[in-house]
C-alpha cells in the first residue's frame, strides 16, 4: 500500500487546498479538552491531544438533527406536510480522527445501513465523509482497543491513516476516497518508510485488555439472570455520560418542536440509561429500575450485538466511558464478570 510523506511545514498549505473541495472538520481545543468541530477559514485542527472528550460520532450522527420541517399555517399550500430540509452533503473530510472512532462507524453502520433499511441521513453523511485518521502513539491507560477488535494504527473505517513522524507525517492511503483527498491536497512524495515497527510499538503501549472469548458461548438468559447486576449497577446514577461519549451508542429519540405555526421534526441522541427511554404510553416501563438499565447497556454492547451480527462486541475500546463516568463504572470489570460468569456455580437466589 502506498505511503506518502507530508512535511509538516506544508500542512497548512495543503489544508488550504483541501478547503475548496471539502468541508473540513477536526479536533479543536475548547477550554480544557478537544472535540470535533467544523474548521473555520484557515483554522487548523489541533493534533496535540490523546483523544477527544466525546467521540467523533457527531460527524455523522449529530446530537440534534432536523429530519423534517412543517407548517401548521393553513394558508400555506403544503401545511401539515413534512418537508425534507435542504442539507449540505457535499464532501467533507474529518481530519485527525482516532482509529477507534473510525472503526466505530463500521459497527454503527450495521444498524443504519442494511439491505433492508437505510437511514438516509446517516448514510448520506457517512458517504460524504473522508476519514483521515491519526494513529495513536500515546494511548490512555484506559484504552483497551487491541482486545476490542481495534488498535492504535487500525485501518478499518479509515480512508487515510496519518502517522506522526516528527517533522512530517507518513500517510497510508487506504481507499479510493483517500486517494482522491491525497490528490486534492497535492501530496505526492512517495516513500519506502515502513510504519509497521511504529505500529507494533504503539500496540505494545496499550496496557489494558478485556477478555471476550467466552461471551458468545454463554446463554443470553444466563447472563441476564446473573447475580452480579445489583452490585454492578449500585453506584450508577443513570446519567447519559457513557452513552453520549461512546462512539458506538447510536440510539436516538424523535421529537416535534413547534414555534408558533412552524415546526421541526428532529432526532436527538437518547440514552438507555434514562428511565424515559423505554417508558410506554400506558405508563408501564419494562426497564423500571437502574439495574435493568445498566444490564441493558452492557448486554447490548457485549452480548446482544455479538449474537446478532456475529462480528465482535459493540465496543472499540476507546475507554471514554471509563474516564468520564462520574462514579467510575468500568466496562472492563463488567466484561470480566460476564465473560467469566458460570451459571452452574451460582447457588444464590435470583430475583
Amino acid at each position: 500500500m502506498k505511503v506518502i510523506k507530508i512535511d509538516k511545514k506544508d500542512w497548512a498549505d495543503s489544508l488550504g487546498k483541501l478547503s475548496g473541495p471539502y468541508r473540513l472538520f477536526g479536533p479543536v481545543r475548547d477550554k480544557d479538552f478537544h472535540n470535533f468541530k467544523e474548521l473555520g477559514n484557515d483554522e487548523q485542527p489541533d493534533f496535540n491531544f490523546q483523544n477527544t472528550r466525546v467521540s467523533a460520532k457527531s460527524m455523522v450522527l449529530p446530537q440534534s438533527e432536523t429530519l423534517f420541517t412543517y407548517s401548521l399555517d393553513e394558508k400555506e399550500p403544503d401545511h401539515h406536510q413534512m418537508r425534507e430540509p435542504e442539507k449540505n452533503y457535499s464532501p467533507r473530510a474529518v481530519l485527525g480522527i482516532r482509529p477507534c472512532d473510525a472503526k466505530a462507524f463500521l459497527l454503527v453502520k450495521r444498524n443504519f445501513d442494511t439491505p433492508e433499511y437505510k437511514d438516509p441521513y446517516w448514510v448520506r453523511a457517512y458517504e460524504a465523509s473522508t476519514f483521515v485518521g491519526l494513529a495513536c502513539d500515546d494511548p490512555c491507560s484506559t484504552c483497551f482497543c487491541t482486545s476490542a477488535g481495534c488498535g492504535p494504527f487500525h485501518e478499518e473505517g479509515l480512508d487515510l491513516l496519518l502517522v506522526d513522524a516528527g517533522d512530517h507525517f507518513l500517510a497510508k492511503v487506504l481507499t479510493q476516497k483517500g486517494k482522491n483527498l491525497v490528490q486534492a491536497a497535492g501530496w505526492g512524495v512517495e516513500t519506502n518508510a515502513d510504519v509497521e515497527l511504529m505500529k507494533r510499538t504503539a500496540e505494545s503501549r496499550i496496557a489494558s485488555a478485556i477478555s471476550t472469548e467466552q461471551l458468545k458461548g454463554k446463554a443470553a438468559t444466563d447472563l441476564y439472570h446473573a447475580p452480579f447486576w445489583e452490585e454492578a449497577a449500585f453506584a450508577c446514577i443513570n446519567c447519559g455520560t457513557c452513552t453520549y461519549s461512546c462512539p458506538t451508542c447510536w440510539c436516538f429519540d424523535i421529537q416535534d418542536e413547534n414555534h408558533g405555526n412552524a415546526g421541526v421534526r428532529m432526532r436527538n441522541w437518547d440514552s438507555c440509561m434514562y428511565p424515559l427511554f423505554t417508558l410506554h404510553g400506558s405508563g408501564h416501563n419494562p426497564r423500571e429500575t437502574k439495574i435493568h438499565r445498566v444490564r441493558q447497556r452492557f448486554m447490548h454492547k457485549l452480548k446482544y450485538y455479538l449474537d446478532k451480527y456475529d462480528a465482535g462486541i459493540q465496543c472499540v475500546g476507546c475507554g471514554r466511558c471509563i474516564r468520564l463516568c462520574p462514579v467510575n463504572i468500568d466496562i472492563r470489570n463488567i466484561c470480566e464478570l460476564m465473560n467469566s460468569h458460570d451459571p452452574g456455580a451460582c447457588t444464590c437466589q435470583v430475583a
Binding site: 452490585e231 449500585f234 421529537q255
Partner: protein, 315 residues
C-alpha cells in the same frame, strides 16, 4: 483522613453483625486514580472492600432516596446535611438510618490535579496533608489544602451535623471563609456581561444530566425536562433549552442545596453549574437567614412562612 477507615470498618462490621442495619453504604476503590465508587456492604465480610480517603467526593445521600431497608451510611458534613434535607422532605426516615459521621477536611479536585501534569496520572497516594502524585512525566508531592474541590475550599460545615457514631474526632471548621466572592463578582456584572458569562459557562453542556443525577436533591419521579405533557423545555442541544434546564434545576434546589459539589464533580465537560446554586444559597441566607440541612426540626424557607415576614415588596 485515610486513618478513619479502620474505625469506619469496625463500626460497619458491628452494625451488620448485630443486625442493626441491613446494609452499609460507603466507598470502594475505583479503577482510576482519585476515583472511588459508591458501594454497599450487606455482610461483615463485604466491609473489607471499604476505603476512605480524599477522593470520596460523591454525596452518598443520593443512594438513600426512597430506600426501605435499615441502612448505615458514611457521611461527611455535606452528606449529613443532605441526609437532614432528605429526612425533612420525607425521602427517608431518621430511624431507618445509622449515620457514621466522617469529619472531613475536604475532597480533592481531580480535574485540577490532572491539569498540573502533562501526562496522565498513574497513581495518587496521600499522607499527612500531602498528596504524592505519579504521572508519566514524573512524581510530585502536593499540598492537599491547595487542591481542594472548589466547594470544599469554602466549606463552612466540615463535621457531620447528625450522626449516630463518629469515625473520628470532629475537625476544626475553616474560619473567615468568604463563600461568595465568585458570586459577588458575577452580581456586579452588567446584564450583557452576565449573559455572556452564562452563555460561555454552559456552552459545552451535552445534556447528559450527570449533574442532576449526582444530586441528592434531584429525586423527582419525572424531572421537568423529561415531562412531555406538557413539554416544558426542548430536548435538543439548543442553547436556550440547555440553559433553561440548568436555571430551573438550580431554582428547584434553592434553600435545599448544601453545596456538596457532586454536580460539578460529576460533569464530564467540567462545567461549574454551582455558580447558579451558590447564588441561590446566598440569596437564602440574605433573605431568610437560612442554611439548609442544619436542623431536623426546621422547615425549609420555601415551604413555610412567618407572621413577621417582611412584605415590603407588596405595593
Amino acid at each position: 483522613m485515610v486513618g478513619y477507615i479502620d474505625k469506619i470498618k469496625e463500626i460497619s462490621e458491628r452494625l451488620l453483625k448485630e443486625g442493626t442495619v441491613e446494609m452499609v453504604i460507603g466507598f470502594q476503590k475505583g479503577t482510576l486514580p482519585m476515583m472511588n465508587t459508591p458501594c454497599f456492604a450487606k455482610t461483615p465480610e463485604d466491609v473489607g472492600n471499604f476505603v476512605w480517603d480524599s477522593h470520596c467526593g460523591i454525596n452518598l445521600a443520593n443512594y438513600l432516596t426512597d430506600r426501605k431497608e435499615k441502612i448505615g451510611v458514611i457521611a461527611k458534613g455535606c452528606d449529613s446535611r443532605s441526609i437532614v434535607t432528605h429526612i425533612t422532605e420525607n425521602k427517608i426516615k431518621r430511624e431507618q438510618i445509622f449515620v457514621i459521621g466522617a469529619p472531613c477536611k475536604g475532597m480533592m479536585d481531580r480535574h485540577k490535579i490532572a491539569s498540573l501534569f502533562e501526562t496522565e496520572i498513574r497513581s495518587v497516594a496521600e499522607n499527612d496533608g500531602k498528596l504524592i502524585v505519579t504521572a508519566g512525566d514524573g512524581e510530585k508531592t502536593l499540598e492537599k489544602a491547595d487542591l481542594l474541590q472548589k466547594n470544599c475550599a469554602v466549606c463552612a460545615h466540615r463535621n457531620p451535623v447528625i450522626h449516630d457514631e463518629l469515625a473520628a474526632d470532629p475537625v476544626e471548621d475553616q474560619k473567615d471563609v468568604d463563600r461568595y466572592a465568585d458570586v459577588r463578582e458575577i452580581e456586579t456584572m452588567p446584564p450583557a456581561e452576565k449573559w455572556d458569562y452564562f452563555d460561555d459557562l454552559f456552552s459545552a453542556c451535552i445534556r447528559c444530566y450527570a449533574c442532576r443525577n449526582a444530586c441528592p436533591l434531584c429525586y423527582c419521579p419525572t424531572c421537568f425536562v423529561d415531562e412531555s405533557q406538557p413539554q416544558w423545555v426542548g430536548k435538543s442541544t439548543d442553547p436556550i433549552d440547555t440553559k433553561t434546564f440548568h436555571f430551573l434545576r438550580a431554582y428547584h434546589c434553592a434553600g435545599r442545596c448544601t453545596d456538596c459539589g457532586s454536580c460539578e464533580r460529576a460533569c464530564p465537560m467540567g462545567i461549574n453549574m454551582r455558580m447558579l446554586t451558590k447564588k441561590l444559597e446566598k440569596d437564602c441566607i440574605d433573605a431568610f437567614g437560612w442554611e439548609p440541612g442544619l436542623d431536623l426540626n426546621q422547615r425549609p424557607p420555601l415551604d413555610t412562612y412567618k407572621m413577621d415576614d417582611p412584605e415590603d415588596f407588596i405595593k
